[in-house]
Subunit: 331 residues, 2 copies
């Protein structure tokens, strides 16, 4: 079974995908992520253990599905959604569902089994953010899709089942409720102030200073004022743009630089914590949300935090973002 | 520092409480919850290790803050909020904050260090749900408070730092955004259908059958149609009521019974998983939300689930609720 189901109260779409339960380790209590290079399906030489690649950046003259690549995009072997079929919207009694159509891809970020992005050369990090853009541009031609989520789980506690660095992409036929709420909140602000709330945040933070971790010409990294989690970091483009895939080629380098520095700082400050990041960008068919502003949200997963918060949507954060920012600046 | 801060985009209030970072184990990477009876501050004989009790159910003739109780309510030793002071709403630059005023209490559910609720005699479980009601009725007389959250973290992975069974209560001067969204969604449904969405869910589920785990005269336990997590269970009262503390005394027994059975089934099915539950009830100053319906949401925390979901509000659930319900019925 693979389908989207809508919570009739909140309006939240959830993917019910029983194929996912077949993954190795799916509910094992004590297993950690697979960390053995010989067996790692994301390492050079093991390409045969994954579905055929969708696209890769690779050395000239090397063959598809063989070594020689430095970024490789493949379909998820245990996809939450399937790519073939029609998007059918149906009632199920009093409820609403949609067929589980979508793309679920894995972006293997590097051939190096255990290098986090701060350990890669800058040009290779730039390519990660470039390939996010490429994949969105390719998939948005498919008119069935309304939204593309791009995210990274690093570390078992953050949901990764393989330790080799990778991010994921899910293209889906609706807009996630969290993104809808964010856009709705930003719209209310815009209607009142006639300004983008994210631009206001950027300007105020740069002027105020205490929550800015780092900035460069194109981007700023802040610990947000109402951080849900200790050491939560947002990376925002200074140039107002609602759409990630509109990023200019010359901005990719500065994005890679700031993401790499934040990654290094979080690893140093928190002793290589598990973490998630998520790209927040416009729905595919919204061509000009002047009140919205794409950005990345990065969340290290610290132990002793996040039990209660997990299911309730209510947050108690023991580390003020000003302290987190100070620590990250100094580290 | 203890304050509420409002996310300017989503409108989510977050508690920033640096006092909480002083707890033992706050960010330790490998520690598990304290599990030593001699040192357990929630055991009989160790009452001196906690702040003085607020209220308790105890054997006649025994003294406050001494053994003899079977339920004991105390202020949290590391409170996220403080009870004394004025609720002051202020701007901070472009942002909004409120002083961190509120009650943060611990409900020690039993004198037994390692009995989960299914292992207690029914009358003692009934008293847990009775004392929730008592505490709400007491605290709602304080006009500073707008909402009371009651929740339980059981197990380290679910956020508990002490293993002795306890739940928590937080009274606060605003309504959490998740509750607001739920009430808003239920209102939209009501406006369209002129019926309570939760009553519709109960009626439909009882008629359809495949997601009902158990019911009795007053309550029904279901695996919700759009379950975010494997084995998520909601317990709803059949009698429409938006307000938990309106529960009739003769309903408490059936609530205790159904919560105990669900607890036993989840422990059997999933090998004593960490779990959270959360009471969803009306804001204190909303006296008649005819479109809302109080209930409990119970979420077992299984490994291999919940990394990505944690920070994003987007959910992939590998276990269809019909399968979860079937398994829980049979176990």
């Amino acid at each position: 079974m693979r389908e989207f189901r809508r919570d009739p109260v909140i309006g939240r779409w959830v993917i019910i995908s029983s194929e996912r339960a077949k993954r190795p380790f799916a509910f094992s209590k004590y297993e950690r992520e697979k960390n053995n290079i010989e067996e790692c399906p994301f390492c050079w030489g093991n390409e045969k253990f994954t579905p055929p690649e969708i696209v890769s950046y690779r050395q000239q003259g090397t063959q598809k599905d063989t070594p020689g690549w430095w970024i490789r995009v493949i379909p998820n072997k245990y996809p939450a959604l399937r790519i073939e079929g029609e998007v059918i919207r149906q009632a199920e009694g009093i409820y609403d569902k949609i067929t589980g159509i979508g793309a679920h891809e894995v972006i293997i970020e590097t051939q190096h089994h255990d290098k986090d992005i701060y350990e890669l050369e800058l040009q290779y990090v730039e390519d990660i953010f470039k390939i996010y853009r490429d994949r969105i541009l390719d998939l948005k031609r498919d008119i069935r899709f309304e939204y593309i989520l791009i995210f990274k789980n690093c570390g078992y506690q953050a949901g990764a089942t393989l330790s080799h660095p990778h991010s994921q992409l899910i293209a889906m036929p609706m807009v996630p409720v969290r993104i809808k709420q964010e856009i709705f909140g930003a719209l209310k602000y815009y209607e009142y102030k006639e300004r983008c709330v994210f631009c206001d945040i950027i300007n105020y933070e740069l002027q105020q200073g205490s929550r800015v971790v780092i900035e460069n010409n194109d981007f700023v990294a802040i610990c947000p004022y109402a951080s849900r989690f200790p050491f939560e970091v947002w990376v925002l483009p200074k140039r107002h743009d609602p759409i990630y895939e509109d990023i200019h080629s010359d901005e990719l380098k500065n994005l890679a630089t700031i993401m790499q520095i934040i990654n290094k700082k979080l690893n140093l400050a928190l002793d290589n914590p598990p973490y998630n990041y998520l790209l927040h960008t416009s729905p595919l068919k919204e061509l000009n949300l002047k009140h919205y502003h794409w950005h990345f949200e990065i969340i290290p997963k610290l132990s002793g935090v996040g039990g209660f918060e997990w299911g309730t949507g209510f947050y108690i954060n023991p580390v003020p973002p000003e302290e987190a920012a100070k620590f990250l600046i100094e580290v």
